[in-house]
Amino acid sequence: MQGANRLWMSLIGVNVIVIGFVAYSAMAPGALTKTMLMPGKTSHGHYQIEMRCDVCHTEGSGIREDACLDCHAEELRRANDTHPSSKFNDPTNAELLSILDAQNCLSCHREHVDEQTLPMGLTMPSDYCYHCHQETLTTRPSHANFAFDSCATAGCHNYHDNRALYENFLNKHADEPDFLDEMVRLTRSTPTPPESKRLTKSNADAPEDWPTDETILDDWASTAHAAAGVNCGDCHSIKDKDAPKSDKNNEPRWSQSVALATCGECHQNEAETFLQGHHGMRLAQDLPAMTPGESRIAMHTDAAHRTLDCNACHSGHRFDTEYASVEACLSCHNDEHSQSFLGTSHHDAWIKELAGEAPRGSGVTCATCHMPRIEDEGGDRFVQHNQNDNLRPNEKMIREVCMNCHGLAFSIDALADSQLVKECFATAPSIHIESVDLARARFEEKQRKKEARLKKK
């Protein structure tokens, strides 16, 4: 009888533990054990935040209405989305929508279906263009022999972002050489604050009992921070922002660590975009910072436990942007593309720049392509810290990055050459995408017709 009681107690104990474990996983936001409740492996774009089910799901496993656009709306706006949902609000599209519901992100991008997920999180067969644009095969004789599922292959068309691929743009840049005579648009530059703001070591306002050593002070005094008048206290003296203003005890206190939000007070665009990419997306969802060890792409094992915050690449107190441009990346990333960079002419140009043998801004680093200098709506120049932004898809790099130094056709070919991408563009592209030629031929044909019409008049 006692044995039976013990058995019952053990069974109850096991049940309590199992139920408790499941309940914790289901209820606690961000619980690491949540993954065991997942219906399938998450996509490359979302795996970092997969333990925050509530970011995409309602209670009861429904899908939140704005789940996709909460994170991706701004990106689509900037891309001049060619197929925004509102485009299909014209009621005459009802029949087409019954074939392919283009107003629902999930029609093409389902989650937790790893076995059918293609690049860009696409989960439907790649013939989707054909459903609505069949007439192209007849109205464009040049397209008559193209495979009906080849429209969106690299270099031709994209569903959302065609900024570098539309006809007029292709035609306008058709004659560009592979290598432009000089770099255009935004190059590396350092702002020069007024000399009156410059601080020196003697101006450092850290408390006397604060553990500062000479190296830290030397490093700080040599940076743009000191040059722009940013003192120790501007980053290390913090107040509890949530405390009411009337709280007289909320005196600033000195902190050794500096939060992302503090950096973001001055570097707003950088901090915001950092949170949108794979480096910062966990922090954006109040999860612990990402570590290279949890990445799905190849990383150095000795970097496995680093945490990805501002300091990961911009270590204090030098905040060395040269280090952050190449060495910081390669100290974690260990895939073929990253490691091949050191053997490319892009890297050679960077070495020459560092050695002072080539003009400032003529070198090409990891950051040149993945974290380009861009302008915000107000015309302020900043470094894009969402390093995934121009990879979704990689044709986004064409205008933002490649065309600063290369012609359009060369850029399209290079990005469409998957082997060359692996080799980090070590050689010239070995494939040719016809889109520029087709656009040029079409514009020439139009011009011929126009002239013939004018002659008739």
Partner: protein, 207 residues
């Protein structure tokens, strides 16, 4: 056995109590205490579409004559261009301005209607007629430039009141650009002043 029966009865009573409490008994009383809103006289569909079309045309005319033409007359460094999004110092063409307004209304669920600029001779094939009604309407407007075309249409299971208004060539820039445009097909007509170039189609869902 007796114990089991009483347990079942207790559970049943508890369930009944839960069911009653979760139906929200107070709702009906609150609703009935609110006085019914006075019924406003409705605007006939035709009157509504005529009115919104008048506003659309007025806005586009002002943009074309007071902005675009004015800039041209002054030889201003800003010019209208089809590729205004990608070219510095350019502004949208009047037809593009009109289409952008239509897109904003498409995006606005509160608007209660939609409108679009369509043509039998579109420079962008996506702007051709997309339903039997639209084809019929554009044919009618081409034949009867001074009349409007009204009717009802069912699309995707929803019924709409549809009004179509002729869109005529009013400024030389409009027809000369369309006549010389690279996207025009060989069979398109040569437009001249006051020719019908397309139609504005306004739809109101019938509820």
């Amino acid at each position: 056995m007796k114990y089991q029966t009483s347990l079942s009865l207790s559970l049943l009573a508890l369930l009944c109590l839960l069911a009653v409490s979760s139906t929200g008994c107070g709702g009906g009383a609150t609703a009935s205490s609110t006085p019914p809103e006075p019924i406003e006289p409705g605007i006939p569909y035709k009157k509504f579409t005529d009115a919104v079309h008048a506003v659309m045309m007025a806005d586009r005319t002002v943009y074309a004559s007071k902005v675009v033409t004015r800039l041209k007359k002054q030889d201003a460094p800003v010019t209208p261009s089809e590729y205004w999004e990608d070219e510095d110092h350019t502004i949208p063409l009047p037809a593009q301005m009109f289409r952008m307004g239509s897109e904003l209304v498409f995006e606005n669920p509160e608007a209660g209607f939609t409108y679009a600029l369509k043509s039998k001779w579109p420079l962008n094939e996506q702007n051709g007629p997309k339903s039997e009604f639209e084809t019929k309407a554009l044919d009618f407007l081409a034949e009867n430039p001074d009349e409007n075309f009204y009717g009802e249409e069912t699309l995707g299971g929803d019924k709409f009141f549809v009004a179509a208004y002729a869109d005529k060539a009013v400024a030389e820039a409009c027809w000369s650009c369309h006549n010389d445009h690279g996207n025009r097909e060989d069979h398109y007509p040569e437009f001249a002043k006051d020719d019908v170039m397309g139609g504005v189609i306004v739809r109101v869902p019938i509820k």
